[in-house]
Symmetry: C2
Subunit: 351 residues, 2 copies
DNA sequence: GGAAATTTTCAAAACGTTTTAAATTTGGCA
DNA sequence: TGCCAAATTTAAAACGTTTTGAAAATTTCC
């Protein structure tokens, strides 16, 4: 492998000049730079990463640790995210070192990885409301970026959609259509995103002067069967007068809900309105629903590049506060929402 | 961060001795080693990977590039494999650098990664019968290990199950039970494993003096719906007299087959025998089938540690020929296979 | 007690890059 | 021509480890 020295001796230059020429420093003569570049090409020069890292103190690697979860849907998004992340990181000359974790202690894997390796930072996903990793890494002085947002005090870079806003948007649209009995079929509120959806939902309902029966707020793994079972129970009146609208944490849940509506002999949107949040994964396309699904939309893959860039900017010194993105989801009206049916105006007593 | 020098000055020793003490060289005094170890602990010493790599010429990283595939089942195994691999590699102080690839050129991603990085080797998965990556990496002198086995000439380390043997075992068992009309529901023969299953199946049938109608050998993505559709068609006699036994490339296919058998009002194993190859993934457990599924079993997770070790041994100089493992799958008889039904002895004309 | 053999330690070089501080060359201007 | 400033280049140090060849310390043996 050709080194800086090889190029230097070939041209009668010092390694210092060669290094500067290749790294685009301004103080090197244009002709020299040209010559250096040509010879570098000719010799097939590739900088030795280890040497660069030794002197810069950077490893050019960031870590990501994924918890294995029995639930299938996680895998779907995982591969999707992985694709985008590695591509975005590669553009900034950074590699992704991956580990899979089974330890019950949420920070153990991070400790191990920091010991074993020289990592410039971490990408964190699937935050819980008070995420212990945030405190640990902050205290250890290790840069990281969070995909999502948690409720810790520390200031850290993140990229998240406005999950409270997602619920507010959905509720706002439904109340404008006259709906008053609205159900939330949420993800597991142990996850930060679901906790925020719940908070946003409750706040929006309150400010619309509506009360939410607890039985209309269900949360679990956002699966189709969960949506089906919950919707069926609610429509059967098992939790009081049935809702006229469902706000779903995922399109998968919405699929279950629509099946339940059909099985009860009802129709969407005439009898029941359905709105969901859409991560725009390739598997369940909201537009292929029948009727097409009204959604708040925020493609997951859009998060990859910002995440990578936030992290690397932070590593390079940009303060955390300047790297906090809260993205508003886009509301897309399609066929699954409509005016409240005539029997539906009957309000609940407001709070 | 404490360095070798810090430990050295603290104890009045040279960095050379400290290095040797920590790396377990025999020529260092036991007491010295103890002292060194203690101070290393006290100062929280961690070797600087970049420095180690610079001098050893090793990066301590191996790469793995995964092709994204639309098909879901791949993701399942992917996470499983990833878990095992990172764990096994960590034991040998090695990291996994992961990239996801979309390039139609099968070696482009490898070229890119070799340019960008200093990698000690690669883990290859999902081989095709004549795999272009093998030739490319062999010629480039980059060590690798193959999960699976392809038909290239080059000698390379691999860890694979004996896929021809898998089919032979299944056919052998079924013919012993009197079956003569046996169908193979295979994976996509564009993949090496499926090509081998097919070859093994054909050879075993021939040596049992049986003929296989081409229509009894179907291959595609090993999904449940594929198994269902194919089995239904065959049982309906669409491809000639129905088979009395199915050899399935996966338990997922077998699930589809058993559904098809039931839907035709037949019973397993009285009317139809079913045997599958079982990767022992957590999702579809062969023992939970009804009746429990007879399988050739070779847990995928068992491949992870051997793969990691083969690769690292090869990097350390062990010749490829000594690192070629072909694992025999275990035959487990359960309830889904039985003697051929009375109408089933009618033989086809043998070849 | 001393030479020889053995064990243990050390100083220095090497890996390939970046960066600092100093040296050299170039160009402008009087 | 000579001087000063600017532009360009260089030598050398630094990063933290491993490894080589030699030196020092210790043990063994007669």
């Amino acid at each position: 492998m050709a080194t800086l020295k090889d190029i230097g001796t070939e041209l009668g230059l010092s390694t210092a000049t060669v290094s500067r020429a290749l790294n685009g420093f301004p103080e090197v003569n244009a002709k020299t730079r040209d010559k250096v570049r040509k010879t570098a090409d000719k010799l097939g020069y590739r900088p030795n990463r280890s040497a660069q890292r030794l002197v810069t103190g950077r490893s050019g690697m960031v870590g990501m640790i994924v918890k294995i979860r029995p639930d299938l849907s996680a895998d779907q998004t995982f591969v999707e995210i992985l694709t985008g992340l590695t591509a975005a990181l590669a553009k900034r000359d950074t590699d992704l070192v991956l580990a899979v974790d089974q330890d019950p202690d949420p920070v153990a894997a991070y400790k191990r990885m920091l010991e074993r390796d020289m990592l410039d930072g971490f990408i964190l996903n699937a935050p819980v409301p008070q995420d212990p990793r945030v405190d640990f890494l902050t205290q250890a002085g290790v840069p990281f970026v969070m995909h999502g947002q948690c409720r810790n005090d520390a200031a850290y870079p993140f990229y998240s959609i406005d999950n409270q806003g997602v619920s507010a948007e959905a509720v706002g649209m439904l109340t404008a259509l006259g709906h008053k009995r609205i159900a939330l079929l949420n993800g597991d509120p142990g996850h930060a995103y679901a906790a925020d959806r719940l908070a946003g939902f409750a706040a929006a309902m309150r400010s619309a002067d509506l009360r939410v029966p607890v039985a209309f707020m269900a949360g679990a793994a956002p699966s189709e069967s969960f949506g089906y079972a919950q919707a069926l129970a609610m429509l059967a009146g098992q939790h009081g007068t049935p809702p006229t609208a469902f706000v779903c944490a995922s399109t998968l849940i919405a699929a279950g809900v629509m099946q339940a509506v059909e099985d009860r002999g009802l129709r969407v949107p005439d009898d029941v309105s359905v709105i969901a949040h859409d991560d725009a994964l390739p598997q369940t396309r909201a537009i292929n629903f029948s009727p097409a699904l009204t959604v708040t939309r925020a493609p997951l893959r859009d998060a990859c590049a910002p995440l990578a860039n936030h992290l690397i900017d932070h590593i390079n010194g940009t303060p955390a506060r300047a790297l906090q993105t809260l993205l508003r989801a886009e509301l897309i009206r399609r066929g699954s929402t409509g005016p409240v049916p005539s029997g539906g105006e009957m309000p609940w007593p407001s709070t």
